[in-house]
Symmetry: C2
Subunit: 107 residues, 2 copies
C-alpha cells in the first residue's frame, strides 16, 4: 500500500477524532506510542514490537492528517533514492552514532 | 510509493550504518527526530514541519530495518480499513484525548 493510501485510510477511520483531539494532543499520543515502541524493543517480544511499529506509523499518519501534510510527498521530496546530505546511495557521510552533533539530516 | 518500497529504499541508502549504530542508537535517533517534529509544530514553519515528518518516517523505516520488521505488513495487519478496536470505519470507540488510560489501540 502506498504511504499516501495508508494516510488516507487513517483519515477515513480517525480524522474526526484526530481533529477533535487537535495537533498537540495527537503529537503527545505519538510520543507515547514511540515510548511504547522503546519498551517493546526492550521486551524482545516480536508480536508486541510489530504492534507498536503499527501504532507509531498510524499516529504519524494521524498527525500528518491534522497538520495537512502529505507524508509520502514530503518523505520522497527529501529522501529520493539517495542521501539528501551527501547525494550518494549507499550514504557516504561521516558516520555518527547520535544526532547530538547532527544537522536535521539522516546519517 | 509503497511503504515497503520506502523501507527498501532506506535500507539501500542507510542499512550498513543503521546496522553499525544498532537498535538502541537508531531508536534514540528516532526519539530525537520526534522531538524535532514537536519543535517544528511549535514553530509553525511549514517547510521545517515537512522536513521533520520526512525524518521521522525515515528513521522509523531505519529502525524497522535493523529489527527485521516489515513496516507495511505490520501496519496493515493491525489497521485494515477499520479500527482494530471497535471494528468500524469511521472509528466508533469512546473518545479519549490521551493515551494514559488507553490500551495499545489507536482511538
Amino acid at each position: 500500500m502506498h504511504v499516501r493510501e495508508f494516510q488516507g485510510m487513517m483519515r477515513r477511520i480517525y480524522y474526526s477524532r484526530d481533529f477533535k483531539r487537535g495537533t498537540e494532543g495527537t503529537y503527545n499520543w505519538l510520543v507515547d506510542e514511540v515510548r511504547e515502541l522503546g519498551d517493546a524493543l526492550e521486551s524482545g517480544n516480536k508480536k508486541e514490537l510489530e504492534n507498536e511499529f503499527a501504532d507509531v506509523i498510524a499516529w504519524l499518519a494521524s498527525l500528518a492528517n491534522v497538520t495537512n501534510i502529505d507524508l509520502e510527498k514530503t518523505a520522497l521530496s527529501k529522501y529520493d533514492k539517495k542521501c539528501p546530505k551527501c547525494g550518494y546511495s549507499p550514504c557516504a557521510c561521516a558516520f555518527r552514532t547520535s544526532s547530538k552533533d547532527a544537522s536535521a539530516q539522516h546519517p
